[in-house]
Symmetry: D2
Subunit: 337 residues, 4 copies
């Protein structure tokens, strides 16, 4: 941490800052410039995050140098973390493809889709039983029945399943069925929920919030990790920008950036990232070429009748095509599918 | 709702869209242009929000015309809603000033602040017992003890209190103490929480999410209203933009816009909206001049020692000054303080 | 400037950075932490802005401490700059109101508007002769004829005039007519244009770009100032965010922030900042309450027939009302109108 | 175009809108709903872009249906445009790689880089002689001498050259040397400049503005095309968002979206799009996988000494590696390099 003093700060003001830092048990390095005095704190000053040096008289700004995450950081854990789910290795050389409908709608819909994505080569089945929706008047998911149908689809296909958990109270129930908890974009900073899944030992898949930085995404992962749950994956799914031609703006830069910063597996969601089914395939390819460890893709047998997110869902036949394209691409970038 | 067909859409594709709309019980108006056919749906088509006409062959885009909120809309409730809390009328000609520290830290801190803001003329006392924090390693609030101290401060000063509730499970406990539930920016789309407070009959103060539109803020209010709870207030508190010189960008446009769209009281939070104590006073004045019904302001007796948000907290003496400025200003814009 | 080394940086890499800084004539302060070494540069290191210390081996990041502007900074010029234009003092206790149509359309239109805004109490007349338009197919302004009509309106009313200059080549011609050059938002980083107006001695009114930070706005001002032209005013006019309910998001925070950073007069443009005539009055008031030195407002006698920006233009009778509201408000915030 | 009337609009107000549209020579379709009346305009209503129906009494909003660009649209020109520059075919199955330093700094620097990128397989040499810089105090390019050195590098290597033109006055001079005009991001809405290059017959490479939508980028292209110059290429180069970990956010969604909307060649700039040399290679691959027709990449023999943009420049050896990776990737996505 570096405290930059105002150009007119008095020696007394400078001393007050120095004293407060030293009182908290840290050493300082003073640099008296011709325009400004700069006070550097020596060592791991994360414990000082709570303190408001900005408020002391004569302080112009405080610059924090260290990344605030620790358990999620590659500095402290240089090798890639591999998360294992029912025999699927996530985060290794083999790419992981998660696919399925936005929501479980009916027994036949989820079974049909599960078989289709399994045949096309997907590794994990996704579908929501509880849906976070902007409007209280739209379809909110079919609830526990959906969890049961997902478990049945797992039985039928052998695919592990992932589904969203929306509140701390629902963690035990959802955990009876799912193999992976999904924490959705709108809940990325639902800290009570992050703490609740952090206390379990099921893997957690955290999606980046619409207006969250890559650093904040890793802080959300840090919440789960600091609960003792090491099975965390993070997922870029599009951020909100001024561009309205697409539903969101998939931030492809975040993929290699996150791979540098963290040892956790990094996914991308081209369905939510674009919001348009005819952009899903090119963006899916782009994300793999940029280094993602896997993808999560919405597939629905009849998107035009889907109860949510139909506009961004692929039909099974297009998903088959995409998987075949991705296989060629994976080989070209040194991965396997 | 208007469905715009692609320039090359076939008559069969156009008929398919028309048939689907009619099957759902709606009438259409067809407009065959020289470049495009446009299909308009007649009437209140909110029930069609679930349907993915975007996915039908030949469809270029779907334009939704009606605002998706109804109970929150001024169209359906032209008069201002007045929310009454222990004798304080919120949303009428008198401005409502909510003030207090970011967090309850200790008995003396909250009592000292409560007396100070009361004397300065504040109407309601704010402070968090549970704090949503980006990092799991920083101060998370003192919990139920904080609620007890808030209740004690209410006893001592007569000020009603508002405090944040962070999860559906905490709604009953927090409701034993508080007069108003605050739903924080990061929980604005925590739909399970919105439903939980919607089932209570305590007033709810909903803060706009960092990347939520004004329309989405009213949809969050709609969640609470549709649960049967009519005591809802909304609050502009700054959105996330590319500008990093301030913590957030307070969207002042949203204040008169929300006043046009909704009958609910509209607040502004210049503390979070700017993140810098020396910008709080000018922005507080700006928001009142633009038509806000009230303000929520962070005040702390010793901001430099505050356990959270010190950089944006006013000292009591500056709050006194601001209140006196606001009194003159209120008169100039036809309000009372 | 502070250079933060990577946690694994070698002593050799650290020395290389130190040597390069010293070779460039600067002294360093070294701070060896337990996790990172930090290298501070002593003194006014603006000349080092050109250098890419980020590229040296072992460097994690470079933090620049000093604001990059100098002539625009209040640090170097603590008193407010007053720009005088034909007897109008801009930047002093009296607020300056600039009003007029988006574009000069005809002799009668500009004369009618000029008289109307003069009577309502405006200080300066605005109108474009050359219009920057997103589409090549829409009205682009009437050119030099518009400049002549503006000059005629000045004769008729005594109001000084301001009009936009869009290219360096047009600077001499526009300068024959106008009292103030306007540099529009889309040209805020047209550096050739900034240099061209910087060489003249007519005052320059620089509007913030749609995606420019407040710091970059002052760097644009710095371009003009560094050419020797001291008559610079800056104007907040709305930035581009994810919110689409308004044309732009007027960044009210920027007003008091700019007043802290710079001695130049700070304006606001509620017409472009909102894009909706029925939001102009509340936002105009908000900007004055937040400390703006003046406003620029679009007024058109028949907005529904305006050739550009009609949707955000006030009719003269509404402008009269607004001026009367602003007079009361100005008094309440210690200004005069 | 669709005009949505307010719910309380009177028959007189509706008639007034209808009459005005008909007076302008267009037919309308009226749709009287239970909540709103909607007025659709039949046919190509681009000429109505100038008109402010928003201002008529009783109008709630105006929805424009047609894309505002025409010459740039794939609707009007379904086949890909191939731009030919000295034997290089841009926009066909073969990818086009443009590479070189940010700026021409010296004879040896540009010649060394030109030979290096040529050997690595680049098709076109880039470098700036005139540099748009945020600060007036930083390196602004070496001017005409830079153009001469670029021409010499073309002689020496056979590579066509591209360089930025910053003002209409400079168009003739720059045109004496360059093979392609580059219009930079900050000048994307410098309409005078777009008109000036539109009058020439040299190809124009238009970079997307930092806060410009994909639609506005094509409107900038439309300015050039409407001047009669058909050799236009567009380039995604990163937009400005709230994320500060990277210099910009490369909007990969825009690549397949632009390919759908326009027949013009679509490029990507991973150097500016990320601002960090160690993200350039993964993002370059991502853009090609997503369907870009080519890339523009900054390469500098000694990035740590570069006078601008060093932090995002590749060393020649890394560029060689990237080209070899791209060759494998191109084959996997059905392109050639």
């Amino acid at each position: 941490m570096i405290v930059v003093m105002k150009s007119l700060a008095t020696p007394g003001e400078i001393n007050a800052v120095v004293n407060q830092i030293e009182t908290l048990g840290f050493q300082v390095h003073l640099s008296h410039g011709t325009e400004r005095t700069i006070i550097g704190v020596v060592g791991d000053d994360r414990p000082l995050q709570n303190h408001n040096f900005e408020m002391l008289n004569g302080v112009e700004k405080v610059v924090r140098i260290l990344q605030p995450f620790k358990l999620a950081s590659r500095d402290f854990h240089p090798e890639n973390t591999i998360v294992e789910v029912r025999g699927v290795q996530i985060g290794g050389p083999k790419l992981t493809i998660i696919a399925g409908p936005c929501a479980v709608e009916s027994r036949s819909q989820i079974l049909e889709t599960a078989h289709a994505v399994k045949e096309a080569g997907a590794d994990i089945l996704r579908a929501g039983a509880y849906k976070p929706r902007t409007s209280p008047y739209t379809f909110q998911g079919i609830g526990e029945e959906g969890l049961e149908l997902l478990a049945e689809a797992r039985e039928a296909t052998g695919l592990p399943i992932i589904t969203e958990v929306m509140s701390p109270e629902a963690v035990p129930l959802v955990g009876q069925y799912t193999d992976i908890y999904q924490v959705g974009a709108r809940n990325m900073q639902n800290f009570t929920l992050l703490q609740a899944v952090g206390k379990t030992r099921l893997p957690v898949f955290v999606k980046r919030g619409l207006s969250s930085t890559a650093q904040e995404l890793l802080m959300a992962a840090e919440y789960v990790l600091s609960g003792g749950n090491h099975g965390v994956m993070v997922c870029e799914r599009g951020i909100r920008t001024f561009e309205t031609a697409t539903r969101n703006t998939l931030d492809i830069n975040a993929i290699p950036l996150l791979k540098q910063w963290t040892h956790l597996p990094v996914f991308a969601d081209p369905s939510h990232g674009t919001g348009k089914w005819d952009l899903v395939a090119p963006i899916a390819k782009g994300c793999i070429a940029a280094g993602a460890d896997g993808l999560i893709i919405e597939v629905h047998p009849r998107p035009e009748q889907a109860l949510s997110d139909g506009a961004q869902s692929l039909k099974p036949e297009r998903f088959v095509e995409l998987m075949s394209d991705l296989r060629r691409l994976a080989a070209a970038v040194g991965r396997v599918l």
